[in-house]
């Protein structure tokens, strides 16, 4: 901006000088014509014309010298150079009809030369008028203008700086509030954050609140899980305690009674052991501590094995086990883990079934995935419980599962194993009619996440 100011000032100054020179030249020409007419250059230099010259020079804040055709100074308003010869180049040029003007900003001076022509038809050059001017007065208004402009610019600059600092401060205030709120929330108070001042801060607030919500849920479920685990582990211990107390309280008892009680205690210990094993598996699954042992496997064979192993259990309540295979399926799987996952599903299907019911396992595949469907004619799962069945220790009917001896971790483990294979597990159910679990797993295992 300052550069523009300087350039403009220079331009204004030049323009001002030029216009001053033009008007002075015009005035000079008038006077000189008058002087020529009155015979000034024929040796008739009268006092009136000289006085007019002096006045003009004074008005212009300058000096006028008149030079004749022989370059001799015949009049000098400073009365110093009369009689000398002004042989400078600008005068030589003027004698040939050229106009010269020269402005020296540094010394604040300006000079111009103009030819004086005779009034007859020859219009020959009979002399030259040489004018020196001090330009301080011409420059003054422009210099002042420049000073004012610079002052204005400086003031403007200062004001703008202040204004933008203030603006910045107020703009950033909500951001600071946001930062403070987030800090407070992350300290553990779970207080929702709300800074609606800007769309951006609102969005950040909302995103943060969602994260906070998820954290809260996570926290909650963690707490629930811990208390669940404690409860589950405690239950068999309590039973053992009761049995042992009764035994000890009985004093003299028949050996058969001891044997019975010991059998019960043994069962409880088994249950406890199973719970602990399942927990360990789950925990290891969660931490990705168990590596996946992928090998190309004949899935059909594995499915048949599972059904064969579970047949005795199904027979107890006369539940029919069916296996349906639409094609031979070869896939990259960890056969031990997948067997466990499917076993859990089939076990559940048998457990939560009617007497004389059925369990159907079907295996199908397309070019990308293979599908294992486990359907049963069991009691079904209520709609509101469907999304929770895969949660750890979740049981729809607590009493029922205790009696049938589950740990509540089976589906969680199955889901974990399916996830490790980068597959998906879904559940469909209708109360009173039955439940179907569908497992979908990629045929080819890709290492990436």
């Amino acid at each position: 901006m300052l550069t523009v100011n300087f350039i403009l000032t220079r331009a204004y100054l030049r323009a001002e000088i030029n216009s001053s020179v033009a008007s002075m030249e015009a005035e000079a020409r008038i006077l000189v014509d008058q002087m020529t007419k009155s015979g000034y250059f024929q040796g008739n230099d009268d006092a009136v014309n000289n006085a007019l010259l002096d006045q003009m020079a004074e008005n212009w804040n300058g000096r006028i010298r008149i030079v004749d055709a022989g370059l001799r100074i015949i009049r000098d308003t400073y009365s110093r150079d009369e009689g000398m010869y002004l042989t400078a180049d600008p005068v030589l040029a003027a004698l040939r009809g050229g106009y010269v003007n020269h402005y020296d900003a540094a010394s604040h001076t300006l000079y111009f030369t103009e030819p004086i022509t005779s009034l007859d038809e020859n219009a020959s050059v009979i002399g030259v008028i040489v004018v020196n001017i001090d330009t301080t007065r011409i420059e003054a208004p422009i210099r002042e203008q420049q000073r004012n402009a610079i002052l204005l610019m400086v003031i403007f600059l200062v004001l703008i700086t202040f204004a933008s600092l203030i603006l910045l401060h107020y703009t950033c205030k909500p951001l600071n509030t946001l930062a403070l709120s987030i800090n407070k929330a992350s300290d553990g108070s779970y207080r929702k954050v709300n800074v609606p001042n800007y769309r951006e801060t609102q969005r950040i607030s909302d995103a943060f609140n969602r994260t906070l919500g998820r954290l809260q849920i996570l926290d909650q479920s963690r707490q629930e899980f811990v208390s669940n685990v404690a409860h589950e582990l405690k239950t068999p211990i309590t039973s053992i305690r009761v049995l042992a107390d009764s035994l000890m309280g009985m004093g003299e008892a028949p050996v058969e009674l001891y044997q019975d009680f010991m059998k019960d205690i043994s069962e409880e210990i088994d249950r406890e052991s199973k719970i602990i094993d399942d927990l360990l598996s789950l925990s290891r699954l969660d931490n990705n501590a168990i590596p996946l042992n992928i090998a190309r496997t004949n899935v059909n064979e594995k499915m048949e094995l599972i059904l064969k192993r579970l047949a005795p259990i199904a027979k107890v309540r006369n539940i029919e086990l069916l296996f349906e295979s639409f094609r031979p399926v070869m896939a990259d799987i960890d056969d031990v883990k997948l067997t466990l996952a499917v076993t859990n599903l089939v076990e559940n299907a048998i457990k939560y079934n009617k007497d004389d019911g059925w369990v159907k396992v079907s295996l199908n595949a397309d070019y990308q995935f293979f599908y294992i469907k486990v359907s049963d004619s069991g009691v079904g799962i209520p709609e509101d419980a469907l999304e929770h069945v895969f949660e750890r220790f979740y049981r729809v009917d607590k009493a029922r599962s205790r009696a049938t001896g589950g740990t509540g971790l089976g589906l969680a483990i199955s889901r974990g194993i399916v996830a490790m294979h980068h597959g998906e597990i879904k559940v469909y159910s209708k109360m009173g009619e039955g439940t179907t679990f569908v497992v979908r797993i990629p045929l080819h295992y890709i290492e990436e996440d």
Binding site: Q55, E58, N61, G70, R72, M84, L92, Y111, I133
Partner: protein, 316 residues
């Protein structure tokens, strides 16, 4: 084979040394040349001429072959009808130098031929190049020219006489120390401080000083005549002065209203107003003290409005 390779290697090794010697050789030459030149002693002079379009005075170097009076002739010949690549000689070719003489501190030239007409630029330039070219060699103050056995005359018939280099101004620009003399009338106080008296002074003003500022400067400086008294208190300085629409605006420093005034404030004010009012482009004077005109001096003189001269205060 081996012999050649060895020779090439040797040459390669010697190359830098050879180059160094080759570069040093020329610098040895001046030592030889200097001694040779001393015998020749060609002097360089400057000769003047005019540009082709006649608008500029030019010069170039010229090597003199002769010395003494012969050199003068030689120089004259050089500037007279000589061949210049970018100009013409200022001395017409028909002019010849008959003989030269020495007179006190002047070189007298006896010229013959078609010397330019008096009063023309041609004649002035001819004189100029003669003076500038010859005086440096001649070692004198001035040149006297005779043409066709007659002393050189100006257009009005008078003899030109001694021509000095200082007769010619080569620069249009006016230096700052060149002043102009203007006679101004200043109003100071009389001995008793009862009335104003005049002093006509030859003011020397530089180009950047207006006549108004010159008048103020001299008023502040004080009177020159013995029984006149200053009207402006000590320590007053002029802050600004300008003329607009025939009113002269004068701004002085605060010391103007001080009580330490040799005369009455009435005389102080009107010495300024009267001195400025007699100038051609001033009718009235608007005074200000430290920028403010909202002041009333003693004897109820208000500075608010422009003041006109009061001739009644002047001693008759």
């Amino acid at each position: 084979m081996r012999g050649i390779m060895q020779r090439i290697h040797a040459f390669r090794k010697a190359l830098p040394f050879l180059l160094a010697v080759a570069m040093l050789l020329p610098s040895l030459r001046p030592a030889f040349a200097a001694t040779a030149e001393k015998e020749e002693e060609a002097e360089v002079s400057r000769i003047y001429y005019v540009s082709s379009d006649g608008t500029r005075l030019l010069s170039c170097q010229y090597e003199l072959q002769s010395s003494g009076d012969e050199a003068i002739r030689e120089l004259f010949t050089a500037i007279c009808g000589g061949n210049f690549s970018d100009g013409n000689s200022a001395v017409p070719s028909g002019v010849t130098l008959n003989h030269i003489a020495w007179q006190e501190d002047s070189l007298v030239l006896y010229l013959e031929g078609n010397y330019p007409e008096a009063g023309t630029a041609e004649e002035t330039l001819c004189r100029l190049v003669i003076v500038k070219t010859l005086l440096a060699k001649a070692g004198v103050e001035s040149v006297i020219i005779n043409v066709n056995n007659e002393p050189l005359k100006s257009a009005d018939g008078s003899e030109v006489g001694r021509i000095r280099e200082s007769d010619f101004l080569m620069d249009v620009a006016t230096s700052p120390d060149e002043t102009r003399k203007v006679i101004v009338t200043l109003y100071f106080a009389n001995e008793n401080g009862t009335a104003l008296v005049t002093e006509d002074i030859m003011a020397e003003l530089s180009m950047d000083e207006t006549i108004e500022s010159g008048v103020m400067r001299l008023l502040i400086a004080g009177p020159t005549e013995k029984d006149h008294r200053a009207t402006i208190p000590q320590g007053v300085s002029l802050l600004s002065v300008s003329v607009r629409n025939r009113i002269c605006y004068v701004n002085v420093s605060g010391a103007f209203t001080s009580q330490d005034n040799p005369v009455s404030q009435m005389l102080s004010v009107y010495s300024i107003v009267n001195s400025l009012s007699i100038l051609a482009d001033v009718d009235q004077v608007q005074l200000a003290v430290d920028g403010s005109s909202d002041i009333t001096m003693q004897e109820n003189i208000s500075l608010a409005a422009p003041l006109s001269a009061d001739w009644s205060l002047v001693e008759q």
